[in-house]
Amino acid sequence: MKSIFKKQVFALLIVLMGFCKMAVAQDVDLFKSMDEQDKKDKLNQTDYTTAIFKTTRMINGQSIENVGAGVLDVKISHRFTPINAGAKGLWGLDGANMRMGADYGINSKLMVGVGRTKGGLFDGFAKYKILRQSTGKVTMPVSIALSGGVLWNTQKSNTLNNYTDRFNYSGQVIIARKFNDYLSLQVVPTVIHYNSVATSSMPNDYYSVGVGGRIRLTKRVNITSEYYYRITKQEGYVNCLSVGVDIETGGHVFQFHFSNSADMNDRSFIEETTSKWNVDAVRFGFNIARVFVVNKPKEIKL
């Protein structure tokens, strides 16, 4: 009796083991495990925000954006004369200030740019991204970049006697956030340094804060605006306000705008805008940016 009972128990155990193995083996469901993995990844992976703005300039000033590594971004900008010229003056289009320049991406965080404005104003800058906005595992609410520039004035002048008098420097901290697909904003504390000022009572350094933003209308069209508020000011000048539209195509970004400044370098448009925003001062202008890939990343072939 005992031995038969034992055999039956063992047999039952073996059958049960077999069933257990069957049940465990059939539980491999790749669809389910992939969905679970996706959920985990959303929490574990960091998603870095891209395309806060469409190009490296807000309107006149720097934006948070950098040019991609190995990419050359050719810039042509015009600022026309005030629109109160009426039909006879083609609403200001008859006269123009012009800047030609190019930006280059050295790596994903660092870019440089040079340019020349009509009449002999040369500018150069470097912009370095120190923090990127991200969600997921690493959360960062803003992107931050540092930008430093130099302006070299080669125009004839009675007041700039020494060679070093002809240089101005700008330093900016660009703090930007993409709130959603439709709204991005940036704040830009700025210092402009003059090597030479008109009188000894004037300071050499001027502080200001820029604010800029864009509202997306369609996938390729944004409304933009930029305003620089001067904290320490030179007398006789006003703050610069610009509003415009960005239109993006495959390789170009067209920026059309109205501004009360005719200048395209940091020192001049921030610190030396002469006229308040009214019909006598507002002028039409545009920036065209065209991107060329100069250094392709190594392509991996299959």
């Binding site: 047999a11 790749l30 669809f31 991406g105 991996i300």
Partner: protein, 180 residues
Amino acid sequence: MKKVILIAGFAALLSTSAMSQKVYATKTGQISFDATGTCAEPIKATNNQVDSKFVDKSGQIVFNVLIKGFKFANALMEDHFNENYMESTKFPKADFKGFITNIASVNFEKDGTYEVSAKGTLTIDGKGKEMIVPGTITIAGGKPTLKASFNVPLKEFIHGSYIGSQISDNAKTVLVCKYD
């Protein structure tokens, strides 16, 4: 007693071999596509981190790719791909869930190349479509490599003004996965 233990032992062994299945996996599969239409610049990208698994007994197979993992030669094109076409922030991954319908014809013990066909759902940008994809599984040294070439009809998944003109509606896709 000894007999019983022997029988139990054999039964356990038998049950193991009858129920065993292997899950082949890789996290470094390669996928690339070419969607050049009338555009002067080639529209090509590669992703070298395809996450894929398949079960040898049932033929169940999955592929999972991170959209931001597709690398283009042109950084701006990559930006537009993510921002304007793929909505990568909303749908960070694309996947295929299906079955290799003729998995039984593959002998995983014997080196060689076997023609296979997978049937399942391809999901891109949140939209799913049933697809049947032919491919080959090559066994070498006990490890399978899966290769497939197929077309992805883009308009079924994403929309954008240039699809059908500068961007071809058919993205020629090549997939190579080496499994462990």
